[in-house]
Amino acid sequence: MDFLRPASWEEALAAKAEHPTAVPIAGGTDVMVEINFDHRRPEYLLDLNRIGDLYEWEVGDDSVRLGASVPYTKIMEHLRAELPGLALASHTVASPQIRNRGGVGGNLGTASPAGDAHPALLAAGAEVEAASVRGTRLIPIDDFYTGVKRNALAPDELIRAIRIKKADGPQQYSKVGTRNAMVIAVCAFGLALHPGTRTVRTGIGSAAPTPVRARTAEDFLNAALDEGGFWDNGKIITPSVAKQFADLCAAACNPIDDIRGTANYRRHAVGVMARRTLTWTWESYRGTRRAACQNGGAA
């Protein structure tokens, strides 16, 4: 095993180009477990800890460019307003110690269906900034997950950053686990309202071979909200609409039975989380809308 310690991003890309089998290690929260448990003996470990750029984030007009190694703790502390869904998801990651080390780049690199960040990224809308000596490309998050623990990165590519749309409406995130900390998701659900485009986006974790969106459910809800004029009248979403949305989210799952839960339970739980997060976000949307109307009236 060789340990590569690039001091800059350029050096890192060059090293990855030279050794495409090199395993990038940043927080180490996935890679080191595999090494400690003798599951993996990579030829090269490519340490990214010394590349300061990866630990920085920039808040732009429409999106946040989040360095791949920004620890979850920082996301919780500093990006709650811009990325509320991801901040909630970050808070469910393992433990304080892990949140101090792990970042979204690692979640994406591992691309486990159980990664906590994925549903939030899918719901918010994001692009993965992948770089190599050949250049940089933006991979839409919807195209990023290609299979169980597989992603769209080329062998010579590294994740530089994730560009996540800033929240323009309420976002929620729920995760089912059988313990209140340090637990891998039995299943997880992210939901974001996008009042700007009058759309709703979803993300489902641990309930299919990859993280997925419940597109049929989104389409149904977008149409129902549109038809009922809900975005404008701010009415409570009717229980039948919420139920239909929840059922369609559950139907979007393609889960398995494993030691953490049954396929049936996962489908069921995703439905419950979909209904609840829709209620919470919609209530929040109605609240901010009312407040905005009142402010508008006063002005």
Partner: protein, 189 residues
Amino acid sequence: MRVNFTVNGRPQEADDVWEGESLLYVLRERLGLPGSKNACEQGECGSCTVRLDGVPVCSCLVAAGQVQDRDVVTVEGLADYAKQRDRVTSGGTALDEARQWAARGTDSQTGEGGELSPIQRAFIDAGAVQCGFCTPGLLVAADEMLERNPDPSDADIREALSGNLCRCTGYEKIMDAVRLAAARQGEEV
């Protein structure tokens, strides 16, 4: 490979390190600092918690090569670390307090010898130590929390220590110990 870094304020060099070794292994087996405990090697128990550039992390998940030129504090250095922090923040009064608590020990092996940090003292006094295997990691995590949040609520304590498993105590005495350390810290000011 060779790794140079600072542990508890002292420069350290480890030689012939296998690239797959963790910081935890280097501390325990190469530097003679076995205080950080190896209980799961997968970041699920917190027994190996150390501070890496001030931040609590699981040392089992830090590759040895990643600590080059960095600064590590382990349980062995916790008392000194707390003493220095207190010098900075309160002009050294905590030291006397610490001695006073130490004097309360009634057994020949308790409370004598080296000085303890307030959180270490509180763990002994509150009965938060049984087998003690989780203790070093909990101390590092709890000390860091009290540094950030000197007046934590119970919910804050639980959240901050949720990465540290204990199998002996049912956590109640650990809660007592952190409350006790916070209260004593508060009395000093």
